[in-house]
Point group: C2
Chain length 330, copies 2
């Protein structure tokens, strides 16, 4: 039997190359090896976007399109919408009893996010408690593996603490601990060279961008501001074009040679931008092709089927949890 | 159209005379005037009994028996089990985004309970957040009235804050504010004269006690320890027999005369205990009769029907809430 792997995205906009290199490309490989669930986490996204729900709900469909476009196959990967699996909120309710406020306050990931968001003294209870909701997501599908970066490890620790506590108090083994599937993909920088690519900074190349949009973004990329003449030596560090070539060009040797050439002078920005543009257009071509074959009905049908399958799986776990608690009367 | 009233009990043991005089007797009257929902709040009871779920889940059936025995009529009152209405946990999830941690910390009722329970630094998140879950209960049934004591008013304020915030942010009027239906019934003292009657202190007369158990408890009641001879003047304050006569004897004049007689001397404890025993046995007789006519199947059927009706009503509200949020895709 294949191991179960659970992953997902907060739907707060269409997906970009950062998502592709950070997780999507990997998921396309993982779906052959694992029983893969991919959750569109609208409920979780609402915890810090509750004042702007349209941003979230309108992105659900776009994210689903991106999934199919990159090659996730509904026959291998169960893609579903979190809010449409009510068992998850019921599990969350019972798990909330097993976590103290102090424990949630000490969660390093949440602590950092609270600071970044400037919540200060007005932390929404829903946001504060989202690690408990994540524990519900992971355990509902009995996921053995969860792809995460290092910064998300505290979330899995919290989940496993809940699992152990539940199984011990209610004398059961119905919940399973999970393990991280560590991803070592570094974060993709924005085309302006600032921090990571993101929608809010308007510095990302989207999977759904047209060939012309991609070309324009590549040619506007930040390189080395001191590299004025082609013959000048140029810097590779902080040069976005090379960061993208590192991430997307298949021939690592060729990239190494280009870097050396650029550093000693004689290689122009236009040349490397042309190469990156060709690289990205080639990579995006099959994604565009699959997207062109999609229509709203197909996507909705895929989401409906995936969500029904996910709900069935989550309900099995919920039934076991209710039995362990004795919350079962009829 | 009748106004909707919502009330309920945490099922943590069978119900006693304190419940009867504090709420049950009143509910029997209210069911003629209002559309009444009575919730057996097992999920809420689990928030501070999660380590001992059997105490809660095994009480659900007993509480339902007590309801029918005191005269709640399934044709007039919808009795249901909280955990079996999953829409409530889903509403709670969305409301959690609208309440800050600081606001929950300032809730006077929860503050006091945290102190009483000695939670200190290990406050379970589920217990801490139960006012949000109460808001879900109240709004799910669009309850206009909620019977409460003064000490529960902060809970309704919290609910109405969530209602106003939800309606404002999501530009809707689908949630309704509620009003307290203030009960002025004083708390019934335990038969030992200590604080209030409660299961944990083993000082309560249960609605399901046999005639002999009731008689024994009445004759063991704390009176006036200095009232040694019948001819001695006796104290009425702190005398449990008079507290119960005040609560249950229908002829207030007769009780006033007895008190005066007791105070000036010449009225023995046995005489007043006999009177109280007769009073309680008379009051309990029809309750016992209805209980004797019950069987497990009838109670389960009543709970199943009530819960189905409650779930239908709660789902209507959930549908409106989802629409307001835009969490609706298919």
């Amino acid at each position: 039997m294949k191991k179960i792997i659970l992953t997902g995205d907060r739907p707060s906009g269409k997906l970009h190359l950062g998502h592709y290199v950070g997780s999507l490309a990997n998921r396309v490989k993982l779906q052959d090896e694992y029983e893969q669930y991919v959750m569109i986490a609208d409920v979780q996204a609402l915890t810090d976007n509750f004042e702007n729900p349209l941003k979230i709900t309108e992105s659900v469909f776009e994210v689903a399109c991106d999934y199919i476009a990159v090659g996730l196959d509904p026959a291998k990967t169960t893609m579903f919408i979190q809010s449409q699996v009510p068992a998850l909120t019921e599990l969350t309710t019972y798990y909330m009893n097993l976590v103290t406020l102090g424990r949630l306050e000490r969660n390093p990931t949440v602590k950092l996010e609270i600071k970044q968001k400037g919540y200060d003294d007005s932390i929404p209870a829903g946001f504060f408690c989202y690690p408990v909701s994540q524990a519900a997501d992971i355990t509902a599908f009995q996921a053995e593996l969860v792809p995460v970066g290092d910064d998300q490890l505290p979330m899995l620790e919290q989940t496993n603490e809940i699992v152990r506590r539940f199984n011990r108090i209610y004398n059961t083994d119905c919940l399973k601990e999970c393990k991280p599937y560590l991803s070592h993909a570094s974060r993709l920088v924005g085309i302006d060279g600032k921090a990571k690519a993101s929608k809010s900074l308007n510095n990302a190349i989207y999977l759904s961008d047209s060939p012309e949009e991609v070309r324009q973004k590549v040619f506007s990329m930040f390189t080395d501001p001191d590299h004025l003449k082609v013959s000048d030596p140029g810097k590779v560090e902080g040069n976005v074009v090379f960061a993208y070539l590192d991430a997307f060009h298949e021939n690592k040797e060729e990239v190494a040679e280009l870097k050396a050439h650029y550093q000693r002078g004689g290689l122009g920005d236009v040349t490397i931008k042309k190469l990156l543009n060709e690289t990205l257009q080639t990579m995006l071509a099959p994604i565009r092709e699959r997207r062109a074959a999609l229509n709203k009905e197909k996507i909705l049908e895929m989401l409906r089927d995936g969500t029904a399958k996910a709900a069935k799986r989550a309900n099995q776990t919920l039934t076991q949890v209710r039995e362990a608690l004795g919350v079962k009367y009829f």
